[in-house]
């Protein structure tokens, strides 16, 4: 029944069909899965800056040497994240707040190493060209200040930066991933930790401040979840700003007020405006 010619044609058809299916499956898996998009992007930076050394406050291993981390809060360098949509990479002058003097490690090894680059950058007034890692499409308007004022920790989106010797992307930053957290913040979001320096004023315990004057705040409970202010549904107009219920009124005029955590908006124009 099958001629040699037909046999050949059928074989070819099956091979090509199977190949197409395999390619389609791979595209669907790699293109659609949240876990694999952009995660693990770790480019070479002009200066081998270690977040582990600067941000971690526990004992760490830096270049094979055990030492205590500096425990500098995220807010020290990325200060404008609290008030602006863009969280800037710190200027060279921020590095020079401390690196204006030679550090102990420099003295031990007898040369400034990569810190030379920071000092020449400062002297010549020429910015260091850091390579950007976390990037949303230009039509998605993410606002850092809004999330920080809702007392979300940096870790929610950037992962455990204080353990990264070289910074890399940890979360996919895809739209599905954003919406996962907007719908179930108590499941995905990390509440503000003391290590980030995010202002999380506890409205219930106003008397605590007297007890903790001059004492290190370390009351972070790792098992804590985002506390939602009110479980009532958020009033959502079809487009435009979300009207939230029960926001705390500013206690002191002109000072930043943290917002109670709420469900994130789900309407398209909240981010694509």
């Amino acid at each position: 029944m099958f001629t040699k010619e037909l046999d050949k044609k059928l074989k070819r058809a099956f091979t090509m069909g199977g190949g197409t299916v395999v390619v389609l499956a791979l595209v669907l898996i790699f293109g659609q899965n949240n876990k694999v998009t952009d995660v693990g992007y770790r480019p070479d930076q002009p200066i081998p800056f270690s977040h582990k050394l600067h941000a971690n406050e526990d004992t760490i291993s830096h270049n094979g040497v055990k030492m205590k981390g500096l425990g500098i809060k995220c807010m020290y360098c990325h200060a404008q994240a609290e008030v602006s949509a863009h969280s800037p990479v710190p200027t060279t002058s921020t590095c020079m707040n401390c690196h204006v003097l030679p550090m102990k490690l420099e003295n031990e090894r007898g040369n400034p190493g990569p810190l030379e680059l920071i000092r020449t950058s400062y002297e010549k007034n020429k910015p260091i060209e850091w390579v950007r890692i976390h990037k949303l499409p230009d039509y998605a308007h993410f606002n850092h200040s809004r999330h920080i004022r809702a007392q979300l920790d940096c870790k929610s989106c950037h992962g455990p930066v204080e353990t990264m010797g070289v910074i890399s992307q940890y979360k996919p930053l895809s739209m599905g991933w954003c919406l996962d957290c907007h719908r179930n913040p108590e499941q995905f979001a990390v509440p503000a930790r003391p290590i980030s320096g995010i202002y999380a004023y506890d409205y219930e315990n106003r008397s605590q401040i007297d007890k903790f004057i001059g004492v290190r705040a370390n009351s972070y409970d790792a098992s804590a979840t985002i506390k939602l202010a009110a479980m009532k549904p958020v009033v959502q107009p079809s487009y435009g700003m979300v009207e939230t219920a029960d926001l705390p009124k500013p206690v002191v005029e002109g000072m930043l007020v943290p917002k109670h955590a709420q469900y994130g908006p789900e309407n398209c124009s909240s981010c694509h405006h």
Binding site: K73, P88, M103, D138, Y139, R206, I213, M255
Partner: protein, 205 residues
């Protein structure tokens, strides 16, 4: 039946190896193994409007010679909504007349708590690397060879006026740089209030 094992050639083993490799690859990737790193920029399949032709914060400019997309303001222009701290490091004597006293309301309990909690948060974020959590110096950066700052709880600092402390936070003193560009004006006053609160505890060894 006799098993025919002899006619398996090189191609069979190659195919099996490729299949096992592919299966392992897919399983590992799908399991979200975050330890796979790549230096190459993420692939854009359809680069629709992801990179729009506009000036974005901290992006290199191809238009200006110095490559800065953020420009310095033209000389003698005044900002409408922001205000840079006008004094330099050594002008602390002018601070008293210029900035005056703490404008934040510390009289009632609720506002005082609010200001202090904010001051505590800002102090811990910006001052602790050198001044430490208790304000007495020997912070984590000092342990690495930085100059130890003065004790914020001793009599010398106590004698300084609020405006002087505000000036030091804004413009700096000795080796310390100013933090006027990082900390908002009201937050700096909150830090001053928090330092005053710490000074009530006195110097502790």
């Amino acid at each position: 039946m006799e098993q025919q094992t002899n006619n398996r050639g090189f191609g069979f083993y190659l195919k099996t190896a490729i299949l096992i490799f592919l299966a392992g690859f897919i399983v590992l990737v799908l399991s979200g193994n975050y330890t796979w790193f790549s230096k190459s920029t993420p692939i854009m399949v359809l680069d629709d409007m992801d990179d729009q032709f506009k000036v974005k914060p901290q992006v290199k400019s191809t238009f200006f010679n110095d490559g800065r997309s953020g420009r310095y303001p033209v000389e003698h222009t005044v900002s409408r909504n922001g205000s840079a701290y006008p004094l330099d490091k050594p002008d602390f004597e002018k601070a008293d007349s210029l900035v005056g006293s703490n404008p934040l309301d510390l009289s009632t309990t609720s506002t005082r708590q609010y200001v202090l909690s904010r001051g505590k948060n800002r102090f811990e974020a910006f001052c602790t690397p050198c001044h430490n959590y208790d304000g007495q110096g020997n912070g984590s950066v000092v342990a690495r060879g930085f100059q130890n700052p003065p004790n914020l709880r001793d009599e010398v600092t106590k004698a300084k006026s609020d405006a002087h402390l505000y000036h030091i936070i804004s413009a700096g003193q000795n080796i310390m740089n100013g933090y006027g560009d990082k900390i908002q004006s009201n937050d700096r006053w909150a830090i001053v209030a928090y330092i005053r609160e710490m000074q009530k505890l006195g110097v502790k060894p």
